[in-house]
């Protein structure tokens, strides 16, 4: 490449005469145009070629590779950072997942504990209810028994009073014919009706 440039530059030096004439024709014969003072041309061309070669050397050997490496380095750094960001994002997502999982687990555990506690309490309540019902039933039965006793005692008393009263009444109306046994049966039958 560099040799190509040098070749091109040298060839243009050689080919210069013709084009200079062309340029002169193009510009016309304007008096006082220093650009057309051909005496200065070899000097200018010499220094231009030197300048271009120096500049080409400095740029192609130092400046351009350096800028290229800076740009690719930056590209690499950006790619690396993006990758890292992606990695961190993935970690964050994973952490969130874990957090959600833990939350769900905790919630499930809590629900289980609540259910267990409820079941236990229910059992206790059931047991207490059963006990209370049994007691209530026993008391009810006892009360009913006593009521029955009271009732039967009361019926006996009514019968006794009725029999005695009937005997007294018969004695008062027809003394001496009262048959206590007959009266007792009749009264008992009547009371039972």
């Amino acid at each position: 490449m560099a040799s190509g440039i040098r070749l091109a530059a040298l060839t243009s030096l050689l080919a210069f005469g013709g084009t200079a004439a062309l340029a002169a024709a193009e510009e016309g014969e304007k008096a006082g145009m220093p650009q057309l003072d051909f005496g200065t041309y070899p000097n200018q061309i010499f220094w231009l070629v030197v300048t271009l070669l120096v500049l080409y050397f400095l740029l192609s050997r130092i400046a351009l590779p350096r800028i290229a490496s800076i740009l690719s380095e930056r590209q690499g750094a950006i790619a690396r950072d993006l990758e890292q960001a992606e990695e961190l994002r993935r970690k964050a997502v994973a952490a969130e997942e874990a957090y959600k999982q833990a939350l769900a687990d905790a919630r499930a555990e809590a629900n289980q504990i609540i259910a267990e506690a409820k079941a236990e309490i229910q059992k206790e309540i059931d047991a207490a209810n059963a006990k209370a019902e049994a007691e209530i039933a026993a008391r009810t039965a006892e009360s009913e028994k006593r009521i029955a006793e009271i009732r039967s005692g009361m019926m006996q008393a009514v019968e006794d009073v009725a029999r005695d009263t009937a005997v007294e009444i018969i004695d008062a109306i027809l003394p001496g014919i009262a048959d206590p046994k007959l009266v007792a049966d009749t009264v008992a039958a009547k009371v039972k009706e």
Partner: protein, 248 residues
């Protein structure tokens, strides 16, 4: 032109090539103002592109950013027009672009010498491009390079006529390529000098030409970049002929 603005104004005097250390003898090796300003251009290029990038910072400094911007600008230009094959000639084209851009810009410094306003310089640059393109085209494609002149997408009857036109335009390229750059650089600087001469003559009213100089200077700042860009992109387009001769 030299007498336009009175006896004090010599707008073309700034383009005279003078020996740097006095004397009147001008040999091909004599250090001149051309040597001085080309040397300064190299120093600016070194400062910007080598010293400016010495830290190789991932987050660029200002000068490194500028260097990277120029690099990316030319790189992308070549990649877009020539494809990957053109990147082989990237250092060559980048050298041309850097030299022209810096020389053009340095020419705006007062009392400076604009090397790219010299026909000798621009013609050599354009001829170098012309010869490089022709040589690369012939070496790479052999006779196939002549397809550049044979436009296969045109109707067959028109092709010989087009070929003649293409051949003429091909050989006129270095002329237009060089005169465009030189003319732009020369005109702008001459205009600034003319206005500067007015400023010297008008005394109290010299602020008119000074404002005009500022305006022209602003315009020239755009022109120096555009001309460097135009020279470079034309080089890349010409290079495309050498790399892909059939691809009109």
């Amino acid at each position: 032109m030299a007498t336009e603005g009175g006896p004090n104004i010599h707008p073309m005097e700034q383009f005279v090539v003078k020996p740097l250390f006095g004397g009147h003898e001008l040999n091909w090796y004599t250090p001149t103002n051309v040597t001085l300003w080309m040397g300064i251009a190299v120093l600016v290029a070194v400062t910007l592109l080598i010293i400016g990038t010495r830290r190789r910072a991932i987050v660029p400094t200002r000068s490194q950013l500028l260097a990277e911007g120029l690099y990316g600008f030319v790189y992308k230009m070549i990649e877009d027009i020539n494809g990957k094959a053109g990147l082989k000639y990237f250092p060559y084209i980048f050298t041309l672009f850097t030299f022209i851009l810096i020389s053009n810009t340095l020419g705006l410094v007062p009392y400076s010498f604009t090397t790219t306003s010299q026909a000798a310089v621009t013609v050599v640059l354009a001829l170098a491009v012309f010869l490089t393109v022709t040589i690369i085209g012939l070496v790479k494609n052999g006779v196939g390079f002549l397809k550049v002149f044979w436009i296969s997408s045109a109707p067959l009857a028109l092709r010989p006529i087009l070929a003649i036109i293409e051949i003429i335009s091909y050989f006129v390229r270095p002329v237009s390529h060089s005169i465009r750059l030189m003319g732009n650089m020369m005109a702008g600087h001459a205009v600034i000098k003319v206005f500067a001469g007015f400023a010297g003559v008008l005394g109290l009213f010299s602020f008119f030409p000074i404002i005009a100089i500022m305006a022209v200077l602003g315009l020239e700042l755009i022109v120096v970049f555009i001309q460097a860009y135009v020279f470079t992109i034309l080089t890349v387009i010409y290079m495309n002929d050498a790399l892909h001769p059939g691809g009109h």
